[in-house]
């Protein structure tokens, strides 16, 4: 009954495709995902940086 619990680092959350793989597994309740406030901050920094490199978007 107990599922594998995974802690996701920012590099996993930043890549939309990789993130979706984990989220899909979590939605199918194959794994439990965890991340921290710090990981989210790091993810936001990385995304802002990436979007800033490409001013056409947003």
């Amino acid at each position: 009954l107990r599922r594998l619990r995974l802690f996701l680092d920012a590099n996993v959350l930043v890549d939309a495709q990789v993130r979706d793989i984990f989220m899909t597994m979590a939605e199918a309740e194959l794994v439990d995902l965890r991340w921290s406030e710090r990981v989210l901050e790091e993810m936001i920094r990385a995304l802002v940086e990436r979007l800033a490199l490409d001013p056409d978007r947003r």
Binding site: L4, A16, I21, R50
Partner: protein, 140 residues
């Protein structure tokens, strides 16, 4: 590379994929509608994880009792036991006290799980459409 995963042979899947990754190959993984191409550390991690999940895929079906301990409810909800306790203290889940122990109504816990699933599904849809709007699915 592309490997068809047969649930009866997870070891072969993991071995083949690991070999390819160690040669610096990118691998493509698909879970439901989600697809990704990865290499290196992330590829290794994902492949090991999928191997473990496939090996454990022989899931046991068990009949649930009418009432659950906080630990059983935690397993069912995929949260920790202290989280269940605080859900009870907050009034999100009802519980009956037997001395210092709490017993939760199984039907209520399952309904709560269903509600969380719905919310999670909506949130993930939102993340996906936002990502697509921002071009985050485009390959760099």
């Amino acid at each position: 590379m592309s490997v068809a995963v047969r649930p009866n042979d997870p070891a072969a899947f993991v071995a083949t994929a690991r070999e390819a990754i160690s040669h610096g190959e990118r691998i493509r993984l698909r879970v439901g509608e989600a697809e990704c191409e990865v290499d290196g550390e992330i590829a290794e991690g994902l492949v090991s994880l999928m191997g473990a999940l496939i090996s454990g895929a022989a899931t046991e079906l068990l009949a649930l009792p009418d009432e659950l301990t906080t630990g059983q409810a935690a397993d069912l909800l995929g949260v920790s036991r202290p989280t269940v306790v605080s859900l009870v203290d907050r009034g999100d889940l009802g519980a009956r006290r037997i001395g210092s122990h709490r017993r939760l109504n199984t039907a209520e816990v399952l309904a709560y799980r269903e509600q969380r699933r719905t919310e999670r599904h909506r949130a993930l849809d939102e993340v996906a459409s936002l990502s697509s709007e921002l071009g985050l699915y485009d390959v760099e």
